[in-house]
Symmetry: C2
Subunit: 152 residues, 2 copies
Amino acid sequence: MKYSTRLADAAHVMLFIHNAKAPAISSAEIAKSICTNPAYVRQLMAKLKAAGLLLSTRGAAHPQLTRDPADISLLDVYNAVEGGKPLLHLDTHVNPECNVGVYIQYALDAHYADVQKAAEARMAKITLADIYGTFLDLCEKAQVTPPCQSGT
Amino acid sequence: MKYSTRLADAAHVMLFIHNAKAPAISSAEIAKSICTNPAYVRQLMAKLKAAGLLLSTRGAAHPQLTRDPADISLLDVYNAVEGGKPLLHLDTHVNPECNVGVYIQYALDAHYADVQKAAEARMAKITLADIYGTFLDLCEKAQVTPPCQSGT
DNA sequence: ATATCATGTAATTTTGAAAATTGCAAGCTG
DNA sequence: CAGCTTGCAATTTTCAAAATTACATGATAT
């Protein structure tokens, strides 16, 4: 399949909104930055809203974060848009008549959980403020002025 | 896309071979356990071989692990079959004319690397012997006799 | 108040990476 | 030699995600 870029796109949406100086930001504007379509952006925003990370109102183009970026972790965003989907996937289609096959996957399941936990623990420590900070650093190093939503 | 189950399948192959008492194990036999086809199993085995985890000879059905399962980590297997493919994926198709979009993804990249490192560090601590141990425990709890390659 | 632009959401189509399949040359083994 | 096997390349199928389409509902400004 295609790789899921929902976490990257959702973080993009959140940071784009945070970075915006203008009061009004439409899904169309955000979509242009991600090179996608407004409906997809709104789907992401709906999930972020359901997770309590974003506020938005029908008909009005002024979304806003519910909390300070320092209080929103990458894990929050991950849970919002990937909803429990694991990073590693078992092969659930093994031969049910083969005990070895069945129980090897069960055994793997237990250890996959540890990897998932480690990844999530790390994501919990990364905040949107951290990412935004890195963003500003990179922009400075490249001598680029952040705002683009006014121009493009 | 489909989810990749290569890591789970490759671990399955390794443990199936380790668990086998019979000297001869064909790719067809392993494939039956994973509910797949021999060619796919051989593709995985080719990668495991290239990574130095497995020995096999053309024409002869007697593969064997190159090291003790206690000396083979889940990360070894992951690197062998996923070859540097990350767990999280950036959105590389952003608008190149939007600095915000471009640099947000660059910033994310840096933090994704930390998550990847954490996951890999955890995988490095899990050995095939650990997984095989869990496998035996689960079999015992379920009162199931492990070997299946003799029967099915 | 009404024309215009936004959101929210469902339904459908397209895309793309992985698995499945096919085919066959090369090699072991009885 | 006959009947297995592996190794590997090429093709087809699968299926989750993204893209697209459509439209009802709601805001906003002139």
